[in-house]
């Protein structure tokens, strides 16, 4: 029992941040799985974070209720961004989304009444690990349902070959617009989760480090299944702590090396549904027939 308590005392913060980063990574996955590489998640997280912080500050809302508002706010922001961004070619969209990260920071710094400006904002409520877990479970269930529905199937088609998908009656614009909405809602919740975990947010909370966390977690965990980003977020979050415990002298280098090794050995990420399908392909039922 004591061992468990010790473990909890030492690692509850890591677990909390793993849960928070899972939302951020899922937000990135939501658009990536429809063929859009975009850093707009950072902006959606900022919108969600500051909306949640303001709601909690003004109405003393419980964190999970604030998450709902943050999700809606992120979704609204995403709708606006999607209308503008979906006019751009994919690589320009990625660049524009990086620009949006910089714009977000400038806006946050220059609207002190909404965001606290350079001073940042204190968040008077702290979300519990259990609440974070519940919110992530609900979000994961939404992703599970999407993956196994028409939306999941056609978004994979759009990602693999948008022009072929379009000749099958699939509107790539519509699919990617929906992807942005989901990314916005989940990103907003992630921003609120971050705000209520850190209990202090400023322009630097929603900046390049978050963009890096988002993309690294998703690539590391695998962007071909919704479970990948969650696994990736936990591995990426736990890595610094683990390296600090194992190789304290060279922890930063070790962290980089581990990331590189995983990405070289498993370029499609830790969770890859293709592996499972290949195994199914080679099952005795079908493998016995010689190739025509």
């Amino acid at each position: 029992m004591e061992a468990i308590l010790d473990f909890w005392a030492a690692y509850s913060a890591t677990i909390a941040f793993g849960l928070v980063n899972s939302f951020i990574a899922l937000s990135c996955y939501a658009v990536l799985s429809a063929g859009v590489l975009s850093f707009t998640t950072v902006m959606f997280a900022a919108v969600g974070g500051f909306v949640a912080a303001q709601m909690i500050g003004m109405f003393a809302l419980p964190p999970l209720v604030a998450f709902l508002f943050a999700g809606v706010a992120g979704g609204v922001a995403a709708a606006v961004i999607a209308v503008i961004f979906l006019r751009l070619e994919t690589h320009w969209m990625a660049l524009a989304s990086l620009a949006l990260v910089l714009i977000t920071r400038v806006v946050v710094l220059n609207t002190p009444t909404l965001t606290g400006g350079v001073q940042g904002m204190l968040v008077p409520v702290r979300v519990s690990v259990l609440e974070l877990f519940l919110a992530l479970a609900v979000t994961a269930f939404v992703f599970y349902r999407m993956h196994n529905s028409w939306y999941g199937l056609v978004s994979r088609a759009v990602r693999e070959d948008p022009s072929v998908a379009s000749t099958m009656g699939i509107s790539t614009y519509r699919v990617q617009f929906i992807a942005f909405l989901i990314s916005g809602a989940v990103g907003g919740i992630g921003g609120a989760a971050l705000a209520t975990t850190l209990q202090f947010i400023s322009a630097d909370t929603y900046f390049l480090a978050l963009a890096f966390t988002m993309i690294a977690s998703t690539v590391l965990g695998g962007s071909f299944h919704w479970f990948g980003p969650i696994v990736g977020a936990f591995v990426f979050t736990a890595l610094p702590t683990t390296m600090q415990a194992v190789l304290p002298e060279i922890q930063d280098v070790a962290k980089g090396v581990v990331l590189l090794v995983i990405m070289i050995l498993l370029p499609r990420g830790l969770v890859d549904p293709r592996v499972l399908k290949l195994r199914l392909s080679r099952s005795p039922k079908t493998a016995e027939q010689p190739d025509a």
Partner: protein, 266 residues
Amino acid sequence: MHDTPTLLQLRAVAKHFGGVAAVGGLSTTVRKGTVHGLIGPNGAGKTTVINLITGLFHPTDGEILFDGHNLEAKPPHEIAALGISRTYQNVRLFSGMSALEQVLTGCFLKRGSSLFASFAGLPAARRNWEEARAKSLLLLARVGMAGKADVLAETLSYGEQRRIEIARALGSDPKLLLLDEPTAGMNHAESQAIGQLVHELRDSGLTILMVEHNMGLVTEFCDSCTVMNFGKLLAEGTPRSCIDDPEVQAAYFGRKNDAKRIQPVG
């Protein structure tokens, strides 16, 4: 045969890429319930015509009429919804999907329930999903790929991938099926099987426009054909009359004088 109604009509369709006219004022008609061949030497603009019909390109000039609709400036997904489906010259299946998933994606237009209903798992949507699955399995069986439903498509042979692509194109219950060189890279027996399948599909009421290089196959399986060269119409009519056309023979085999010129000396 000429009293059957027209399904697809191209009127002076042109497509320029910069200064190059890939298609330069092509007019032709495809009649309902026929297998129509689109033939011509390499670079004649056949695939460009297919891309124009499916909306991947938009014509620089002229118009394309399909089943009473003008396809002008319509995006590909709207054209597909009107009942046009296609396969690709170099097979373009979705990577990472099983054979069944490929065909299921092709059934998207006939899914019967909204994306949201499907996400929410409403009873009607579940039923529609199961129906689409059953239909996909039937289509796989129809192209001779029963039992390969769970196989990752990219691990199959080229000929098998072509069959899956045809099954995928049939998923939307199209009125017009465009096959871009369906027998490329296939041996004689496989080509014959594709020809048989095309006939079966026609007999079930489908209209087929197919780009084909294999003249034997064209004479055997097409009811009528259009011959193109350098983006223009060269000949039109029954396969036999097209092949006997001196212009067509010149385009394919060169002129008599050309043959003399390239004959080895001595």
